[in-house]
Symmetry: C2
Subunit: 338 residues, 2 copies
């Protein structure tokens, strides 16, 4: 029995080594790609509508969240777009989306940046984010007040301070801002939420503070080091009995404006961002739909297909012609597949 338990512990130690390798690989990937992203930004700064076309051609899992009215905003004023890993050393899974806009009829912001932190609790790990204020022009709020309500809840939650205990979170759920947000969410149907609702995203689970996450990381690390030294670990977590005994009563997703936000932004950061040129080119490809549809398809194959056919059957003048048309009129919106 004991010998088998040791094997399971060995597997856990190995798993944590694999996890470390994954993080190191993310750092190496970023180091390899950063100069390419810079070069790409230079080239595409002279290509009108590059990013709005990329968003149009993005995999359905992203595109499904872009409403026709969002599409119009992108086509008319999305100038720049960037994904950055802002804490590569300590948290390579955290990243930010940064949108640059020209002057427009919808909002006064020229930059909207949304940061996603990779955080942990005892039961969960994933991306959390703080709501970002969009300064909508009068009567132009595409989210119908959802981003504002989320910001107000975010501020009220910050004032409460610590939210790492169930007791503290009970106070959060009793806030008028919480109730307001939950009510607004109930009336807004998910299918029609603007892509800009993403700026209100908080978590696919619940808000997790940096402090709570750091504490969990610390405990995990200590446990792992004990295992590595062959010491016994406290399986029962006696010190946390309070937490364990009281499972969360509240479903914080009732206040989440953009419930699949973490999945959508992960796809944006891990697929759309590195493969943007491919998606852009697909906008000029007759067979584009077959390409953007199937996520299971080996991406390397598709990439190869593209570069393989480069300069053969592709009529660059026709492409350019199309590109020019696109600079006058926003690209036609695909049917939303709900």
């Amino acid at each position: 029995m004991e010998e088998l338990q040791v094997r399971f512990e060995e597997l856990s130690v190995l798993e944590s080594d694999f996890e470390d390798a994954e993080l190191e690989l993310l750092r190496k990937s970023e180091a390899l790609h950063t100069p390419l992203y810079k070069k790409r930004a230079q080239v595409i700064s002279r290509i009108p509508h590059f990013w709005s076309l990329v968003f149009e051609q993005a995999p359905t899992e992203i595109d499904n969240f872009i409403q026709p009215s969002d599409s119009r905003v992108f086509a008319e004023c999305l100038d720049t777009f960037e994904v950055t890993r802002f804490d590569l050393e300590n948290s390579p899974r955290s990243f930010a989306l940064k949108f640059g806009f020209s002057e427009n009829e919808w909002f006064s912001d020229t930059t909207l940046e949304k940061k996603f932190w990779f955080r942990k609790t005892k039961e969960w790990a994933g991306l959390v984010s703080e709501p970002v204020k969009i300064h909508w022009k009068k009567g132009k709020d595409l989210t119908g007040g959802l981003t504002d309500a989320a910001c107000k809840l975010g501020e009220a939650r910050q004032k409460l301070g610590n939210t790492s205990t169930p007791e503290a979170r009970k106070k959060e759920a009793a806030l008028p801002e919480y109730k307001n947000m939950a009510q607004r969410n109930e009336t807004a149907t998910e299918a029609s939420v603007s892509f800009f609702g993403l700026f209100a995203f908080v978590s696919g689970y619940r808000w997790v503070s940096a402090e709570e996450s750091a504490q969990v990381e610390k405990e995990d690390k200590e446990k792992m080091e004990k295992l590595k030294r062959g010491e016994a670990v406290d399986d029962d977590d006696d010190d946390d009995d309070d937490d364990e005994a009281e499972p969360e009563q509240q479903d914080y997703q009732e206040t989440e404006v953009f419930p699949d936000g973490d999945e959508v932004v992960t796809l944006i950061a891990e697929d759309m961002w590195p493969n943007a040129i491919k998606y852009y080119k697909a906008a000029f490809d007759e067979d584009a739909d077959g390409f953007s549809g199937d996520e299971d398809e080996d991406l390397s194959e598709i990439e190869m297909d593209d570069s393989g056919s480069e300069g053969e059957t592709v009529d660059i003048r026709a492409l350019v012609g199309k590109g020019r048309t696109a600079s006058d009129a926003p690209p036609a919106k695909k049917q939303r597949k709900a």
Copy 2:
């Protein structure tokens, strides 16, 4: 006009830089993971049924191809499993699957190795492979003769030599071994093909020789270097007019025993192999099904969930108990989702 064409060419050059970065990252990933895979192999060599349980818990896209009878073979005699990148320097996308078996009632082989080469044609890029002979014991061939027929076709094709021109391939399609294979395939229903049919896999497109692929790589590289020097490239590919003028008449998929083989083995190499411990642990998890089902889910989250819950609610003795049962009886087969 010309300026816009230059932009498209700049994008193509950038794309090829991104492609190089991708290959470099694959090399770095392998360097990071190789010592971990060795350590893992040591630990799991003492855990009975590790790999058969991993295959059981693999994502549905893999598991769907494992028939109940294949499952029995794995549970009874699959001792070792390994994915290697055998040409990391020149072709980091190529890899091999190596299965180690103990003596069994089905075949006399103790090792079955299947190599997949990443190759290119002018129109396509992807994995190709040569059929691998399985020495089935009498009356025990789970593929009903498909692997043998594929090997015979493979040998006959090799005797023909060069298959890079449509003319040469016409000869292939006229072979009696080709017709035999196509006929056998017609009667075998895809849904019931054994997982061992994977050893007969050739290509999701058609057989592509190393020579043909090397020639295409060379031409692609020359074209890219010209673009980088700002020289004009030959958009019409005059030198290849013969190939271009004659589109392939033959559908080589009529002789393919395992049409989705390339996608299945890519998932095995890129997901199941690095995350094997996680899948193994899932076999002891009551909620395993929710975990192995959704491919879109952020894998990092799942991994974290696992390591986060380590030593808390998991009763290692119960796990071990289950593990022991599994060592006596093969794991129960999930319902096949066709």
